[in-house]
Symmetry: C2
Subunit: 188 residues, 2 copies
C-alpha cells in the first residue's frame, strides 16, 4: 500500500497507532503525473501541499523577463508546494512541474489544519518539518554568502549526490543562480 510510505515517514518523528494513521491517511488523496506536467501553475489557486511518493519535481519562479529560476527540487519523501500561496490561500507565484513521472499524496489546507488541531502529534510533526525546512533554507543562504558559483556547485554535489544524477546540468544552473555556460566550465 502506497500510504505505508507516508506512515514510515511520519513515524521517523512521532510514533502512531493504527487508528491514528488511518485517521491521518483518510485526509490524503493520491495523484499521478507524467514528466512535464504541472502540479501548480503560476496565477492559479494552490489546493494542496504534496507529499512525494516517487518521482522528481522542480519549484520554479519565473521573473519579469521570462527567465526561470529553480527555488527547489523535491523528490521521494519530500513535501512541496508554493507554500506561501497555499498557506494564505492566494494565487501561486511559482509553478511546480515534473522532471520525472511522479506520484504524490495531496493534503488540502483545511485538512492540514484539521490534522494539526485534532492530533497534537501531527502538529508536532509539521513543526519539526517546518524547523528543518527553515534550517535548510538558511544553510543555502549561508552557502550563497560565503561561496562563489563553483564552490556552491561542489557543495551541492556533496550534499545531494543522488539528485545531481537525475537533473540536467542546465537545471542545476537555474537552481544555483548561475548561467549554464558558467556551470559547464567548472571541472568537477
Amino acid at each position: 500500500m502506497m500510504q505505508e510510505k507516508l506512515r514510515a515517514h511520519i513515524e521517523q518523528i512521532v510514533p502512531l497507532t493504527d487508528d491514528e494513521f488511518q485517521f491521518i491517511s483518510d485526509h490524503f488523496t493520491n495523484k499521478k503525473y507524467k514528466k512535464h506536467q504541472f502540479l501548480i501553475q503560476e496565477g492559479q489557486p494552490v489546493k494542496y501541499h504534496y507529499f512525494i511518493l516517487s518521482g522528481l519535481l522542480k519549484l520554479v519562479y519565473t521573473d519579469g523577463t521570462g527567465k526561470q529560476h529553480i527555488v527547489s527540487f523535491a523528490m521521494e519523501n519530500w513535501w512541496e508546494s508554493d507554500f506561501y500561496a497555499y498557506y494564505t490561500q492566494t494565487e501561486a507565484t511559482m509553478s511546480l512541474e515534473c522532471l520525472e513521472d511522479t506520484e504524490v499524496l495531496c493534503l488540502t489546507l483545511a485538512d492540514y489544519k484539521k490534522l494539526c488541531d485534532t492530533l497534537p502529534k501531527m502538529q508536532r510533526f509539521f513543526l519539526e518539518k517546518a524547523n528543518f525546512g527553515f534550517l535548510g533554507a538558511q544553510r543555502r543562504i549561508i552557502s550563497w554568502l560565503t561561496s562563489n558559483a563553483q564552490a556552491r556547485y561542489e557543495q551541492l554535489l556533496k550534499q545531494y549526490p543522488l539528485l545531481i544524477q537525475r537533473v540536467p546540468k542546465s537545471q542545476l544552473a537555474a537552481y544555483l543562480g548561475v548561467s549554464r555556460e558558467t556551470l559547464s566550465r567548472f571541472t568537477s
Copy 2:
C-alpha cells in the same frame, strides 16, 4: 511589565488566558546586553532561543578566511538564535552580537519542548513562526536568484525601511553578500 510584550506577540496568533500566560512566562528569563556584547559565540553551546524586547542583533557566520557574513538581523518582537545548534544541542557555528543595547527573554530548549508538549496552543504558535520563518528565507533565496546586488539592496530598503536606518551600510553589504565598496556605488 516587560513580559506583556511577549503576551501581545503570542496573542497575535493564539489567544491566551491569564493562567496560560503566567505558565508560559514562568519559563522565560530576562537578560540585558550592551552594544558589542555577544549572546552567542561560535564554538560555544547555545543555551537559549531569544525573544527580543528591545534593541538590535546580528547573526554572523565567519568563513574560513575570517570574513564575516550576516545571516540575519533581529529586532524588537523577533526571535533569534543559532537555531540549528540550539535545536540539536551542538556547538554554535555562528555568533549573535548586539548592534545596540538589547533586552531579551530567554527560553531553553527543554522549556521550549515543555511548552509545546503542555500547551498545544504554544506548539501552534511556534509552528506558525517556523512556517513564516521558512517563507522569509525562501523569499530571500528568490531575491538572490532573480536580482543583482543593486536590486537586492532596493528590495531590502523597501521591505525593512526602519531597519536600514539603524544599521551601518557596511553591515548591510555583509547581509546582501556584496562588498561595501560596491554597495557604496549604488545611487539609491
